[in-house]
C-alpha cells in the first residue's frame, strides 16, 4: 500500500515536471510583459483574458491576424482529416470488396505513398504545385496531403476483418455495392473512423513545413506555421511581448489537445488495436 502511494507521488511529480513548459507558457500568457523581465513569477497572473482579447483582436504587431490564422488552421485541419478519411475509406472499400484486374497494383501504389512523406518530397511537390498555380490557396494546403496509406491500410484491415457472411447476407437481401457501403460497411466502421479522425486532425493542424512553403500570402497563414514569425515579431520590440507570444502558442496547441483528450479512450484503442 505504501509503495503504491510512493509510486503515485513520484509519478505525479514527474508529470508536473514534464508539464513545466506548458506551465511556464501559462504564466507568461497571464501576465503583463513587464512582469516577465528578470525572474519569472511562480504563479499565473490575471491577465490571461486580457491577453487573449488582445491577441485575437489586434494580433501581434507585424504579423498576420491570429484569429485569421486560427481559422485557416481549422479549415486546413478539418479539410485534411475529412479528405484523408474519405479517400481512404473509398479506396479500402474498393480494394476489399471488389475483384478487378490490377487490384493489387492499385493497392501497392497507394501503399507506396508511405515511402514519400512530405518532408522528403516537399521541394519537387512545391514545384509541381507552383506549376499548377495552386499556391496561396486552401487547396494547396489540403489536397497534396490527403492521400493516406496508413488510413487506407488500417481501414482495409478493418473491412477485411468483418465476417464474410455479413456480405453474403446483404447480397442475399439484395444489397448492391453502394447500398452495402452506406448501410453496413460505413456504420460499422465508426470506431476506426473516429480514431483516425483524431489522428488526422492533429496531423493536419500541426503541419508546419508545407504551409510555410506554399503560403506567402498572409491571408492563408496558419497559426502553427506562423509560430517562428510570431516569436520574431513579438520579440522585436524593446519590451519583448512574450505574454502575447505565449498566449498565441497556447491557442495554437489547444484544439488538437482538446480533441486528443476528449477522444482519448478509443483513440488509444484504435491506434494500438486496429494496427494488429
Amino acid at each position: 500500500m505504501k509503495r503504491q502511494w510512493l509510486r503515485r507521488s513520484v509519478l505525479l511529480l514527474l508529470a508536473l515536471l514534464l508539464a513545466l513548459p506548458l506551465y511556464a507558457a501559462l504564466i507568461a500568457a497571464s501576465h503583463a510583459p513587464g512582469d516577465l523581465l528578470g525572474r519569472l513569477p511562480w504563479l499565473p497572473g490575471n491577465r490571461l483574458l486580457h491577453n487573449l482579447h488582445t491577441v485575437l483582436d489586434a494580433g501581434l504587431p507585424g504579423s498576420p491576424s491570429v484569429l485569421r490564422m486560427l481559422g485557416n488552421s481549422l479549415v486546413m485541419a478539418l479539410g485534411i482529416a475529412l479528405g484523408k478519411l474519405t479517400l481512404a475509406t473509398l479506396s479500402a472499400y474498393a480494394v476489399v470488396y471488389f475483384r478487378f484486374p490490377l487490384r493489387r497494383t492499385a493497392f501497392v501504389l497507394i501503399l507506396s505513398s508511405l515511402m514519400l512523406p512530405l518532408e522528403v518530397r516537399f521541394y519537387p511537390t512545391f514545384q509541381v504545385s507552383a506549376g499548377l498555380h495552386l499556391l496561396n490557396s486552401y487547396g494547396v494546403l489540403i489536397v497534396p496531403l490527403i492521400a493516406s496509406a496508413t488510413a487506407t491500410f488500417l481501414l482495409r484491415q478493418f473491412f477485411a476483418s468483418m465476417p464474410p457472411s455479413l456480405l453474403d447476407a446483404a447480397r442475399m437481401d439484395g444489397a448492391g455495392p453502394l447500398q452495402f457501403f452506406l448501410h453496413s460497411a460505413l456504420p460499422l466502421a465508426r470506431t476506426p473512423l473516429a480514431a483516425l479522425f483524431v489522428l488526422e486532425f492533429v496531423y493536419g493542424w500541426n503541419q508546419y513545413l508545407w504551409p510555410l512553403l506554399t503560403t506567402t500570402d498572409a491571408r492563408y497563414a496558419t497559426v502553427v506555421m506562423g509560430m517562428q514569425g510570431l516569436i520574431n515579431a513579438g520579440t522585436s520590440f524593446a519590451l519583448p511581448r512574450w505574454d502575447l507570444v505565449m498566449t498565441t502558442a497556447l491557442l495554437a496547441l489547444l484544439p488538437p489537445l482538446l480533441v486528443l483528450l476528449l477522444a482519448q479512450r478509443w483513440f488509444i484503442r484504435g491506434l494500438t488495436d486496429i494496427e494488429k
Partner: protein, 302 residues
C-alpha cells in the same frame, strides 16, 4: 455476379464484381498520389541529373555531378553525422523514459487512466509549438529554465553556443517523443498475459528483477518498432521544431538533413543539390518505412 474465396486467398470470402465502380472509388486517392507524390518524385529523379542556368531557361545534363558535389561536401557529411547522433540519442532517451514511465503507470492498481493522460498529452502538440514553449523556457534573461541554468553557473546562450543549442533541441525532442514511446509501451504491457507475470512472481522475480529479466525482453518487439519509429520522427518530423528553436544554427550546428534540404532549396536555390538530397531521403525513408511495417506486425508480444 460476384464470387467467393479461392483456396489461399487472404481477403474475405465474397465480393462484388465490377469494372468501373472500384476504379471510381479509387480514383480520388490515385489522382492525388499521381499528381502530388509520383510526379514530384519523377521530377526530382530527373532534376538530380540536370543543371539549370541562372534564369531557369535551359538545362544541361550533368550526369552525377550533383551527386558527387552534394554527397562529397563537408556540410552534407556534417549534417548526416549530426542527424544520426541526434536520432540515436533521442531514441535512446525516449525509449528509456517511455519504458520506465509505462512500467510505473501500468503497475499502478488504480488511477492508471489519469496518469496515462498526464503523460500522453504532449503527443498532440506540433513540434513547432513544443519548440515555442521551450524557446521561451530557455530564453536567456527571460526563461525560467535559463534562469536556473545561470544560477547553476552555466553561461547560457544557445544562440551562440553550438553545444547548448544542440542540447536544447535534444531536450525538446525527447520531451515530445516520450509521450509516443510511453503510449506504445503501455499498450504492449497491457497485452502481456497476466499469468506470465504471475508465474515470474512465483519464480521469485519481483520488482526490478522482473522488469529486467522478464518484461524488457518480452517487450523487445515493441522496442524494435519504437526505435525505427523514433528514427523516422527525428529524421522527418523535426523541421518545425528546429526552425523555431535554432533555425539550424548557430553555424549549422543543428542543421539536420531535412533542414539542410530546405536551406539548399529555398535559401540557396540550388535545385540540383535539393533534388539529390530529396532522392537520398526518399531512399532512407523507404528502408525505414518497410522496416517499420515489418516490425509493426510483431510489435505486440503474443
Amino acid at each position: 455476379m460476384g464470387g467467393s474465396r479461392a483456396a489461399g486467398e487472404l481477403l474475405p470470402g465474397t465480393w462484388f464484381r465490377g469494372r468501373w465502380l472500384p476504379w471510381l472509388l479509387l480514383a480520388p486517392q490515385l489522382v492525388v498520389i499521381g499528381v502530388f507524390f509520383l510526379w514530384p518524385t519523377l521530377r526530382a529523379l530527373r532534376d538530380a541529373f540536370y543543371q539549370g542556368d541562372a534564369f531557369g531557361l535551359s538545362e544541361e545534363f550533368v550526369g552525377l555531378r550533383h551527386f558527387a558535389h552534394t554527397l562529397g561536401s563537408a556540410e552534407y557529411g556534417h549534417a548526416l553525422l549530426l542527424t544520426l547522433a541526434y536520432a540515436v540519442l533521442t531514441s535512446a532517451l525516449s525509449l528509456a523514459g517511455g519504458f520506465a514511465l509505462a512500467v510505473a503507470v501500468e503497475g499502478l492498481r488504480s488511477g492508471r487512466t489519469l496518469f496515462r493522460t498526464l503523460f500522453l498529452w504532449p503527443y498532440a502538440l506540433a513540434p513547432a509549438i513544443s519548440a515555442a514553449l521551450w524557446v521561451f523556457l530557455f530564453r536567456p534573461q527571460v526563461g525560467l529554465g535559463a534562469g536556473l541554468l545561470e544560477h547553476a553557473g552555466v553561461h547560457w546562450n544557445p544562440a551562440l553556443q553550438a553545444g547548448q543549442a544542440q542540447a536544447l533541441v535534444l531536450a525538446t525532442t525527447v520531451w515530445q517523443l516520450l509521450a509516443y514511446n510511453f503510449l506504445f509501451y503501455g499498450a504492449a504491457l497491457q497485452s502481456l498475459p497476466p499469468s506470465l507475470l504471475e508465474a515470474a512472481a512465483l519464480d521469485g522475480a519481483r520488482g526490478w528483477r522482473r522488469v529486467r529479466d522478464v518484461i524488457w525482453p518480452l517487450l523487445a518487439p515493441t522496442t524494435l518498432f519504437l526505435v525505427v519509429t523514433d528514427l523516422i520522427f527525428v529524421l522527418f518530423d523535426t523541421f518545425g521544431l528546429i526552425d523555431v528553436l535554432t533555425q539550424g544554427g548557430p553555424d549549422n550546428a543543428t542543421e539536420t538533413l531535412v533542414y539542410k534540404l530546405y536551406e539548399d532549396a529555398f535559401r540557396n536555390f540550388d535545385q540540383g543539390a535539393a533534388a539529390v538530397q530529396s532522392l537520398l531521403l526518399m531512399l532512407l525513408v523507404t528502408v525505414l518505412g518497410v522496416l517499420q511495417l515489418r516490425l509493426q506486425r510483431r510489435r505486440v508480444p503474443s
